[in-house]
């Protein structure tokens, strides 16, 4: 059966969500427009900038390159949920302390991307950190401060 409008049931930041969506609606537009979760940003809309990064079933994805209709049954986590849980509080503090953001547009995507690397224990050196965040554009900082912040958290978490 094909349809232009679909009913989907999914978990968003731990809450059960039932919504009716257009087939053509992207995940990030659904989160922002239908659920009011505007922490995920819409930048390039073709997978280049990383501002729309969210987690689907535990893995980071481009929110602009998945359809909301594909998320029926999925577990979605956005910057709002990850922030509220406290899981990235140290990383957020490090970004603030080191001026790793200026306008903040890229920051939610940057935090979620960095968190995946840190959780997987992959933030072993600056080159690896740079490679991992290569899909997230920041037009303010020049990246050095972002790499500093991620590296600092890799060290403090590693020492715990």
């Amino acid at each position: 059966m094909s349809a232009h409008v679909l009913d989907i049931v999914l978990s968003v930041n731990g809450d059960a969500v039932h919504e009716r969506v257009d087939a053509r609606k992207t995940l990030v537009d659904f989160l922002r427009d239908d659920l009011g979760l505007t922490g995920s940003h819409v930048g390039c809309e073709h997978g280049v900038c990383g501002a729309c990064t969210v987690r689907v079933n535990g893995e980071i994805v481009r929110g602009c390159l998945m359809l909301a209709a594909q998320c029926d049954g999925a577990k979605i986590e956005t910057i709002e949920g990850v922030s509220d849980s406290g899981a990235v509080a140290d990383l957020q503090d490090a970004f603030e302390k080191r001026n790793a953001l200026q306008c903040g547009f890229c920051t939610p995507g940057m935090i979620l991307t960095a968190q995946e690397l840190l959780t997987n224990g992959g933030a072993t050196d600056r080159d690896t950190i740079r490679e991992h965040i290569s899909g997230n554009y920041c037009r303010c900082t020049g990246y050095h401060a972002i790499v500093d912040a991620i590296e600092a958290i890799a060290q403090t978490r590693g020492n715990k």
């Binding site: 059966m1 094909s2 349809a3 232009h4 679909l6 257009d22 087939a23 053509r24 992207t26 537009d29 809309e45 073709h46 997978g47 990383g50 990064t53 689907v56 893995e59 980071i60 994805v61 481009r62 602009c64 390159l65 998945m66 359809l67 209709a69 594909q70 991307t113 995946e116 690397l117 740079r130 490679e131 991992h132 290569s134 899909g135 997230n136």
Partner: protein
């Protein structure tokens, strides 16, 4: 931009996907990491997307009869993490980190990359360099297509309008084989300005059965046959001189720059093949 309206269907079987493709102006939705970008930019506007992600059994990675078989729906991230690929298809393992970025590799599929056949993409060139083969299923049943016969033109393959790519196979690497991979991109993970995937048999200090597959320099990944022959003769300068690529200017570089960079990559990859990587 936002996509033009389309209908969405979740196929539960290959038969269902094939039938749906026959009735509609449809596109298959696998990882969607290229397709949804083209929809968002309104570069394509199909009537129907057929989501094949729910079809079971298409995401395996396994050894089969001396070949490494990678299912169409295996995510790039799974291929990148696979011990089987690392051990038995090292060229592919070497190429994986160059494919886009982690968030895209979590979602994009191996089969999707081959079927989309972007001329600047890594995996079609790897498949060509390895002499791999592609399994497809359509209304008339299953068939297998050699990599050398698969890439027909710009985003054009041997797949018919109702064919579904189901798996890709490459020969298992043997001790005598050498592999090389290099690409130049403005940003790590972007499509290559020029790239090269290569395989050869190492015979003492000489190379045999050289297969050089360039990407980003034409409408398809391209074998450089004359350079292959020259390299088998043992002379990298002659091989570079024998490169007869005919790239077009694009947004990233002029044809002249691409041709120059192809020579640079050939020297680097030759060093890899000879075990003299700097």
């Amino acid at each position: 931009m936002k996509p033009a309206p389309f209908a969405y269907a979740k196929a539960r079987s290959l038969d269902e996907a094939i039938a749906l493709m026959g009735e509609n102006d449809a596109r298959l939705l696998a990882g969607g990491q290229s397709l949804i970008a083209t929809l968002n930019m309104r570069l394509s506007a199909p009537e129907l997307l057929i989501d094949i992600n729910g079809i079971g059994g298409l995401d395996g990675i396994a050894l089969k009869d001396g070949m490494v078989e990678i299912g169409a729906l295996a995510r790039h991230a799974a291929v990148e993490r696979s011990d089987t690929v690392a051990k038995h298809a090292p060229l592919i393992a070497r190429a994986m980190p160059h494919i886009a970025h982690p968030a895209i590799r979590n979602r994009g599929t191996f089969g999707g990359s081959i079927a989309f056949a972007d001329p600047a993409a890594e995996l079609p060139a790897c498949l060509l360099a390895l002499g791999g083969e592609i399994d497809a299923i359509g209304p008339k049943g299953k068939r297998t297509i050699e990599a050398d016969d698969f890439f027909k033109g710009l985003f054009e393959t041997a797949l018919g309008p109702q064919d579904v790519l189901t798996a890709v196979r490459v020969p298992t690497a043997t001790n005598g084989m050498r592999f090389g991979f290099a690409e130049l991109a403005r940003r790590h993970g972007d499509y290559a300005i020029v790239g090269l995937a290569a395989a050869a048999k190492a015979d003492g200090k000489k190379l045999g059965d050289v297969r050089l597959a360039f990407f980003g320099v034409g409408e398809t990944p391209i074998r450089a046959n004359k350079a292959e022959a020259a390299l088998a003769q043992g002379n990298v300068d002659n091989a570079v001189a024998a490169l007869d690529l005919d790239p077009s200017d694009d947004a990233q570089a002029t044809a002249a720059v691409k041709k120059h960079l192809a020579g640079v990559l050939l020297r680097r990859v030759t060093a890899q093949l000879l075990g003299r990587e700097q």
